[in-house]
Structures are given as structure tokens and as C-alpha cells.
């Protein structure tokens, strides 16, 4: 995303089954993580696309997550509306009962890191952890060695999972002054905000790391924040919810990094061909402060 991007066209006629990555996923078990040098690209889908398998180390039975059928989406959406329980609702009360502000990438090509920031922020809000404002520029600056360049969410995700992100206290928001702020102390603080469980297809190249549409819908109905790259937009955004646009029409509720002035308090629904993502990752569990 941003200025340098790889064209990755999604054909509208492609079926969900074809869009399912055969394998995706990354680390959910510290022991396994250590034994595999940090990479656990083993989760897979059943052949009928009805379940996600999360294999356990060394042949134990995998954990299964059932993927919701499209016929279930209406009930799930209505349930979220009734209980005000989606990530959209949680974000709107996540800062001591008030909305968590949207990020602001300030016109630079770091949207691919801001999308991870938004998703990580949502994952903390889901846990009612105190709102902290992450410095997306910090991660993008380090990856790009100070250059203002585009990237993909599949590039940002593994970095954030390994390093975490500092807050704007350690690395001021939108600052390109890495010479000053890119210190060991900054990244030591960042560690405490690391996501410890994610799903990222580490088998694929960074620009091809994605989640299938029905997988994405399932994760969002389960309040697992995701990110999405959109080729038509050359843009990457956080994803908070799988939304009913109209009867039978569904798409993601995005959380953009263009301040709260974008859409409805920084959020908007994508529909039709614009809802087709080219890259996606999921942020399951963030690190928490013990006190």
C-alpha cells in the first residue's frame, strides 16, 4: 500500500473457497514459538472451508474454529447490535467510556503500519486496557530505514508482533526524527505492547499475506480486530466489524487513519468490489500490564 505497491487483483467471480489461504497463522504458543525460531505458519482450513484448524505442537489434535456460514451472519450482526458488543461499539466507549480517537498518518505513506496500530488499539480496547496512542511512524520508519515509502499490512504485522510499538510518549506522533527516537529504550517500552497472538500467513510474501473473506468475517464477528489492504484504494486500514450494508450485502467496517473527520468518527463501511481486500492479518491478544 502507499506509493509502492504490488498489484494484486481480486476477481469478483472468485469463490470463497479459492480465496481461502491453504495455510495461515502464526504463533499462539510460546513453547512452539521458541522451537520454531519464531514462525508458526501452520494453521489451515478444512477442505470444505467450514473450520479453521490451529494445530498443536507435535501431532496433538488441532484446535478447531468453526467458520460461520453466511446464513448465520444476520443473527450474529443483530446480536451485536442488540448487545452493543462489536468492536465498533467497544471502540466508541473504549477510552473511559468515550470514543478512542482515530489515528492520523498525516499524508505520509505509512498507512500499512497505521492499520496495525488501529487493530492493536482495538485489541487493547476489547480487553478494557487503558487507551494508549501508538506511534506508527516508529515502526514504519525503522522498517523503511527512514524513507517515506508504502508497504503492506503483511510487512507491518510480523514487525509489530516481534517488536511491539512505542507510544507517542517515546516517539512523538508523526515524527520522522528516528535519529533521536530510535533508541533501545524506546523499543524496550514497545515490547510491553506486543501482540502475543496473531494470525499472519507467514508462508506468503509480505504483499500476499491475507485471510479469506469468510475467515475475516468470522474473526470480526468474534471480535478479533484485523487489518485490510485494498488495492483499488492503495490503502491499508484497520477492520473492526463485519457489517450488513443492506439485505444480503456485507462488507467490513474500516477504521481509517485519517483522523475522526473521515467518515463517521474515522470509520466507514466498504461494500461491493471495494470490500475486496488483497491483504489481511488479525490481532488476537495483546500483552497486558500486570498491574
Amino acid at each position: 500500500m502507499g506509493r509502492k505497491k504490488k498489484q494484486h487483483i481480486i476477481n469478483d467471480s472468485t469463490s470463497n473457497d479459492v480465496l481461502f489461504p491453504k495455510e495461515f497463522g502464526r504463533g499462539f504458543d510460546k513453547l512452539q514459538r521458541e522451537q520454531n525460531d519464531g514462525y508458526i505458519p501452520k494453521a489451515s482450513l478444512s477442505t470444505d472451508g467450514s473450520k479453521i484448524y490451529l494445530p498443536q505442537p507435535h501431532g496433538a489434535d488441532p484446535v478447531e474454529i468453526r467458520i460461520y456460514e453466511e446464513s448465520e451472519w444476520d443473527a450474529l450482526y443483530d446480536e451485536q447490535e442488540k448487545n452493543q458488543s462489536s468492536l465498533e461499539h467497544i471502540r466508541m466507549r473504549g477510552d473511559k467510556g468515550k470514543p478512542i480517537p482515530s489515528y492520523d498518518q498525516n499524508g505520509q505513506g505509512y498507512c500499512w503500519m497505521y492499520s496495525s496500530c488501529s487493530a492493536l488499539t482495538a485489541s487493547r480496547a476489547k480487553q478494557n486496557q487503558p487507551y494508549v496512542r501508538f506511534s506508527a511512524h516508529a515502526g514504519a520508519w525503522v522498517i523503511k530505514k527512514g524513507a517515506d515509502e508504502g508497504g503492506w499490512t503483511g510487512l507491518a504485522g510480523p514487525f509489530v508482533e516481534e517488536k511491539g510499538l512505542p507510544t507517542v510518549k517515546e516517539w512523538p506522533e508523526k515524527s520522522m526524527n528516528g535519529q533521536t527516537y530510535n533508541t533501545a529504550a524506546t523499543w524496550e517500552v514497545a515490547k510491553q505492547y506486543r501482540p502475543t497472538e496473531t494470525w499472519i500467513d507467514m508462508r506468503a510474501a509480505a504483499y500476499d499475506r491475507t485471510l479469506a473473506r469468510r475467515v475475516l468475517a468470522t474473526l470480526l464477528f468474534n471480535n478479533i480486530p484485523c487489518t485490510g489492504d485494498y488495492d483499488w484504494w492503495s490503502h491499508s486500514v484497520g477492520l473492526l466489524r463485519w457489517c450488513r450494508i443492506s439485505a444480503g450485502s456485507w462488507g467490513p467496517l474500516i477504521w481509517n487513519s485519517w483522523t475522526d473527520s473521515f467518515g463517521t468518527q474515522g470509520m466507514s463501511k466498504l461494500e461491493g468490489s471495494k470490500a475486496e481486500h488483497s491483504g489481511a492479518i488479525a490481532f488476537r491478544t495483546p500483552m497486558a500490564m500486570a498491574a
Binding site: 499462539f28 504458543d29 510460546k30 513453547l31 522451537q35 490451529l54 498443536q56 505442537p57 507435535h58 501431532g59 496433538a60 489434535d61 484446535v63 478447531e64 474454529i65 468453526r66 460461520y68 446480536e79 448487545n83 452493543q84 458488543s85 462489536s86 461499539h89 467497544i90 466507549r93 473511559k96 467510556g97 476489547k126 480487553q127 478494557n128 486496557q129 487503558p130 487507551y131 515490547k191 510491553q192 502475543t196 497472538e197 468470522t218 468474534n222 471480535n223 478479533i224 488476537r284 491478544t285 500483552m287 497486558a288 500490564m289 500486570a290 498491574a291
Partner: protein, 275 residues
């Protein structure tokens, strides 16, 4: 059940089958790692009484590709925490009847199980007998009634605190009421209003993952540890049932148990401690 426990259960079964089945002895005739295991234990006061058994293998594993995993059975009577290749803590409620536990110290190399070191230890002392009557006090006060809530407070500090935790891979199987409890507005609004505020004004309630990792030490970590032990014990008695867990307390009394089946009951339970 959470992923790690499910994995350990599966592997413990596998290790037990290999150990017990004379048709399938451990595959390595000459294990590369000889091991003896040193066992120490300590009682952890005050209540509920726990015994922590510390298992220590005596040989350092030098092969960087080796995987060492400890298993302890019966898994429904203990919780294990592997500290390193050579060390594993086992937490057992000491008021259960004396039970023989079997541990397996499994070494895997190059994708094959190359060594299984089984052994046993005993833990559990049975219910504590009442103290003998004091001959100088013919009319002793009656014993305290049993506490229907958990006797160890999840949040011993002053103030109203609450913590839910659940396994996100189980989310599909939760009831709408459970989902509403751990993510809905009714509980969030109540806790935002009633929970103790931290020094930034943020309300002290959380919704963590069963596998939550923490930075530093403190009351969230301690409460989570207690909850995981209680949750594992509950699941052992209720096999196949998957529920989110709730710990709540106000410094004087507390509760650790499954999230109630009805949302109104969850709110009532919170109100019992938060007013």
C-alpha cells in the same frame, strides 16, 4: 479448553499409551538424555491449600533442536507450568485425597520422540480435620460457615475489581448471554461506573484471554493465575463445557467462577460486590 491444556492432554495421553503399552515401547533403545528427576514440594498458604511440587531434571539438554516437554497425569487434578527444559512446577490442591501423579519428561529430537522418563510422586492430604476441642473452653465458638464464594480473594486489595477471561478460539461456542457479558454495553457501562479507577481514571476491569501474557507483576496477573487454576478444575468436572470465567472482588469478599448463564445474573453477581 484452552489450547495449551488441550495439547498437554493429548500428549499426556500419547505418552501414557506409549509407556503403558508393551507393544509400543519408547522408540529409542538408547536415549540420548539420561535423566533423573528431583522432586521437592511446599505447601502454599493460606486457602485453598495448595501443594506446589517442583520437578527438576538433572541433565542439561545441549541439542538446540531438542524439544523437552513435561506432562503430569491425572491432568484433572493438577496444573503444570513448565519453567524450562529441566524444570516444571505442578500445583495440586492439597485437600484432595492422596493421589499418585505420574510425570513424563519427554524429549523429542528431529521430529521423533527419543526419550520418555516416567516417574511418580504423591500429593494431596485429604480434608483438614477440625481442631481438637479445647478442654479449657467448654463452649467454643462455632466454626466459620463455609464460604460459598472462593475462599482466596481474587482481588485482596481495597476497591472493586473485575476480570473476565476466555479462550478466543472458543468464542463461537459461547451463548449470546456469555458474549454479551464479555463484550456488551450493559456490563461495560456498569463496570465503567462502579469499578475502582486507576491513577489515570481508567476503570479497573479487564477482559483477558485464557493464555494472556503480562508485563511485570501485579494484581491482574495474580488474579489471572488464580482464575486459570479454578477454571481448569471446573472444566475437569464439566468436560466438554466451554464458558468464559469471571473473577470479581472488593477486598473483603470475592468470587471466581463461570460467567452466569444469564446476562442479568452476571450483572447481579457484579452488583453483589460492586454495589
Amino acid at each position: 479448553m484452552r489450547e495449551v491444556l488441550a495439547f498437554k492432554a493429548g500428549m499426556a495421553f500419547l505418552a501414557l499409551a506409549i509407556w503403558a503399552d508393551p507393544q509400543q515401547p519408547p522408540p529409542a533403545p538408547k536415549p540420548p538424555v539420561k535423566a533423573t528427576v528431583k522432586i521437592t514440594s511446599e505447601d502454599i498458604p493460606p486457602t485453598p491449600p495448595y501443594t506446589k511440587v517442583h520437578l527438576v531434571g538433572d541433565t542439561k539438554i545441549t541439542d538446540p533442536d531438542a524439544l523437552v516437554v513435561w506432562f503430569v497425569t491425572p491432568i484433572d487434578k493438577c496444573v503444570t507450568e513448565q519453567l524450562s527444559d529441566n524444570e516444571c512446577d505442578v500445583l495440586v490442591r492439597s485437600d484432595i485425597p492422596e493421589t499418585t501423579f505420574t510425570y513424563f519428561w519427554v524429549v523429542k529430537q528431529k521430529g521423533k520422540q527419543t526419550s520418555v522418563t516416567p516417574g511418580t510422586f504423591k500429593a494431596g492430604k485429604g480434608p483438614r480435620p477440625p481442631p481438637p476441642p479445647d478442654p479449657d473452653d467448654p463452649d467454643p465458638p462455632p466454626p466459620d460457615p463455609p464460604n460459598p464464594d472462593n475462599v482466596k480473594l481474587p482481588f485482596p486489595q481495597d476497591g472493586f475489581y473485575a476480570m473476565f477471561f476466555y479462550q478466543d478460539t472458543d468464542f463461537n461456542s459461547y451463548s449470546p448471554s456469555h458474549k454479551a457479558a464479555i463484550g456488551g454495553a450493559a456490563v461495560a457501562n456498569y463496570l465503567n461506573a462502579k469499578a475502582t479507577k486507576d491513577n489515570t481514571g481508567h476503570p479497573c476491569w479487564r477482559v483477558f484471554d485464557t493464555n494472556q501474557q503480562f508485563a511485570g507483576s501485579g494484581y491482574w496477573l495474580e488474579a489471572h493465575k488464580k482464575g486459570v487454576v479454578d477454571h481448569a478444575a471446573w472444566e475437569a468436572k464439566n468436560p466438554g463445557k466451554k464458558v468464559p470465567w469471571l473473577l470479581v472482588g472488593n477486598g473483603k469478599k470475592g468470587h471466581s467462577g463461570p460467567v452466569p448463564d444469564k446476562l442479568d445474573d452476571t450483572l447481579a453477581l457484579l452488583a453483589k460486590y460492586g454495589g
